[in-house]
Amino acid sequence: MLRLSLGLVTVFAFSVIIFSTFSFLPGDFATEILGQSATKSAVKALRAELGLDKPPVTRYFDWLGNVFQGDFGSSFSGRSKVQGDQGDRSREVVGLIVPRLKNTLFLTGVAAMLAIPLSLILGISAALYRNSYYDRSATGVSLVTVSSPEFFTAYIFILLLATLFPVFPTISNVDEASTLAERFYRTALPVFTLTLITMGHMMRMTRSAIINILSSEYIEMAKLSGASRYEVIVKHALPNAWAPISQVIAINLAYMLIGSVVVEYVFNYQGIGRLMVGSVYNRDLPVVQACALIFASTYVILNLIADLIGIISNPRLLYPK
């Protein structure tokens, strides 16, 4: 319960920070959309229409109140510039975000399903054959993938798998009509990129969590009672490693979501990251706020889940004395 309320506070604080940073950015939606040649009165009129003339604090609480009622407001862009014609063509933020969010969740979901099992297997096997050539090369390669930035990894994949060996498309445009197979095919490269950038960290942390436990006395005891290598790792070490492993997975899933901002941009994928970048450019505050809120809550929820796994996997916390 305490964690949950702390999480809510985090999300709230985050929305305040986003809102106030926006107030410090030069220009607003009105100046951006009307261009430099706009007359002062036109800018003023548009501001009044969007409610941008009110003081920031009032605007923030108006917005907050609406969010609690499930109303994320309307996007500024796509709104009719003709007086009296508003409403019909203005776009609801929710309607704008949901399909994009689905796309992003698909992308990161596939990447996660690839990255998590792979890094667990690699991490555990590296711990099992510690200091072997396999271990050394796996940890070495993972260090390289962790240190290279997303866009670099993305371009390497484009170079290898789209240009030199044209297996996958460089542009991952999907729409409502795409079939599942098409989606997999088109998102292959962004999925690989996201997998690679997060896998290194997860694998290394799994490895060190297991190695840490392997040096404890109950592992020696297990060996002396005749447990095989496999049994030692899977039955004795792994159950005690879930807490640190789930933490690092949560952090990496969140990182994946944030990394998708760059990756979606590189592969021109219609996800929430691209939407957010575009909206920041336009100073489209309602959309940016909503996206930011989604990112923040995902982060908090993922961490809550990790904590929960930590508690469930630890009898000390589950069954008090």
Binding site: S216, E217, Y218, E220, M221, A222, K223, L224, S225, G226, A227, S228, K235, H236, P239, N240, S313, N314, P315, R316, Y319, K321
Partner: protein, 537 residues
């Protein structure tokens, strides 16, 4: 201990050499030790830390710790040379034919699994009996080990039972596959004397019951005397001597063996006076919401030594924390040299802080590993007495001489000192403040017998020379006899009694003191048997 044990050879280790890798080079841990064990026989392996007794015990299973390797030697178990087997072949013997009971039960059980599952895991691997038969058998083992609620205790997790119970459950776990040999590696060292007695008797009766052979490793001769038929003394990886238990106790051949119980021969004549250095009156103290001290009153006579004894959880160390101001009391007052001390550390004057010093149990963690001896001792001299430069150095050397070390130690780091030397440096650090009262919190319990003796003698000498007052916190009665004038017995946060050593250590006793004193193992192989007979009657 029955004498009609078979003479059939079970284990024969010949000329065992084991090397260990540490500090970037290989060291010899065992230098050609032999060992023989017959079926149903219990052999005691004894020695100080670093003697190689634990390595020898594990080698009896053909196992070496990571970083160690068997250089040469034969380990014939039932006619098979374990040293020549592969890991895979050895795993078939480990846990089922030979099982192991570790020193620290608390950290040797996997925290993620229930005790029952861990108890029968090795026997389960044999696939002879189905799981429910094994579980029933385990419950019977729990019962014969006198565990409370034997029926259900296996459903608990390791953190839900006490240390003494865990140690007995580990014995049940070792016994579950009915092995031919059990290695007990210091199984009672981490326990209180009162718990130790229960665990010892439980282990002995079950080993007797199934006529299992055992190697019992310990540094406490009195404990091994209760368990073993034969005793082998190791030192620096070599055998000192081996003899039947009774022969060894009555007639030890080597000087070294005699020195193993030297602390027990140290005795100080008691003295007291009516002039109190420190009086604590009606103290209550708590950690958070759990109250640990109830109405504790103790008087400490000037220039004398008061020992506070009791098992873990009795509030001895908490009392020390209250006196030093680390844990402010809820109620009651502390009178130091006629003046009232403020409960809070922050509100005490520098002079008050200087006059009360404390020495801790673990010298390893009580010193900054990156400071040299000169810095460690010099800092309190500078802080409390404002002495700097050449004079400070002279003072440090003077203190080093006082603790029977010399100026060659000035530039050493704690990692370059032995355990006993580290504790001496801690004593010098306390003396550097020129205190009137030193609280010694289990200062000798982490040390070997011989080193203990040296430290205790040093503390006595310093008291004679400087007239300093000691509060000596310990659970070891031999230490108490060696150093104290007065004794305070504590139990569950209360003072059971306080008085002169001769009064406390002689009858009539209050019930708890009786239990505590009678639980201290004595150098008599019949001690445990007699004690158990006495208690059951």
């Amino acid at each position: 201990m029955t004498l009609n044990k078979s003479k059939e050879l079970l284990l024969e280790m010949k000329n065992i050499h084991i090397d260990g890798f540490s500090d970037e080079r290989w060291h010899k841990i065992l230098k050609g030790v032999d060992l023989t064990l017959h079926r149903g026989e219990i052999l005691g392996l004894i020695g100080e830390s670093g003697a190689g007794k634990s390595t020898m015990g594990k080698a009896a299973m053909g196992y070496t710790q990571p970083g160690c390797k068997i250089i040469k030697g034969e380990i014939n178990f039932n006619g098979i040379d374990l040293a020549k087997l592969t890991e895979f072949e050895k795993r078939k013997i480990w846990g089922t034919k030979i099982s192991y009971v570790a020193q620290s039960a608390a950290s040797s059980f996997n925290p993620a699994h229930r005790l029952m599952d861990q108890t029968i895991s090795a026997a389960n691997r044999l696939k002879i009996n189905p799981t429910d038969v094994l579980k029933k058998d385990a419950v019977q083992l729990y019962e014969s080990l006198q565990l409370p609620d034997a029926e259900n205790i296996g459903d608990r997790y390791p953190h839900q039972v006490s240390g003494g119970q865990l140690q007995r459950i580990m014995t049940a776990m070792a016994m579950s596959p009915r092995p031919e040999l059990i290695i007990f590696d210091e199984p009672t060292t981490a326990l209180d004397v009162t718990t130790q007695v229960e665990v010892l008797s439980a282990m002995r009766s079950i080993v007797d019951k199934f006529n299992t052979a055992a190697i019992y490793i310990t540094h406490d001769l009195a404990v091994v005397a209760q368990m073993a038929d034969r005793i082998k003394v190791l030192r620096y990886g070599e055998e000192v001597e081996e003899a039947e238990t009774r022969d060894m106790l009555s007639n030890p051949k080597e000087e070294y063996t005699k020195s193993l119980w030297s602390v027990r021969s140290l005795i100080k004549p008691e003295e007291t006076n009516e002039d109190y250095m420190l009086s604590i009156k009606n103290i209550d103290a708590a950690y958070g919401s759990s109250k640990v001290l109830h109405n504790v009153s103790i008087d400490i006579p000037k220039g004398k030594t008061v020992a506070i004894v009791g098992e873990s959880g009795s509030g001895k160390s908490t009392t020390a924390r209250v006196i030093t101001g680390l844990l402010p009391q809820l109620k009651g007052e502390i009178i130091f040299d006629g003046k009232k001390l403020s409960p809070k550390l922050e509100q005490r004057s520098k002079e008050e802080l200087r006059r009360i010093q404390i020495i801790f149990q673990m010298p390893d963690t009580a010193m900054n590993p990156r400071q040299t001896v000169d810095e460690i001792i010099g800092r309190p001299i500078e802080f409390y007495q404002g002495i700097k430069g050449k004079k400070r150095e002279a003072k440090v050397i003077e203190l080093l001489k006082m603790i029977e070390l010399d100026e060659t130690f000035l530039d050493r780091l704690p990692s370059e000192l032995s355990g006993g030397q580290k504790q001496r440096i801690c004593i010098a650090r306390a003396l550097a403040a020129n205190p009137d009262l030193i609280i010694c919190d289990e200062v000798t319990s982490a040390l070997d017998q011989i080193v203990q003796e040296g430290i205790l003698k040093l503390l006595q000498k310093l008291q004679k020379e400087l007239g300093v007052t000691y509060i000596f916190i310990t659970h070891d009665i031999a230490t108490v006899k060696a150093i104290s004038d007065e004794i305070v017995v504590m139990y569950q946060g209360e003072v059971v009694e306080q008085g002169l050593k001769s009064k406390i250590l002689n009858p009539p006793y209050p019930d708890y003191t009786e239990l505590l004193l009678s639980s201290v193992p004595e150098m008599d192989p019949d001690w445990l048997t007699n004690l158990l007979n006495k208690r059951s009657s």
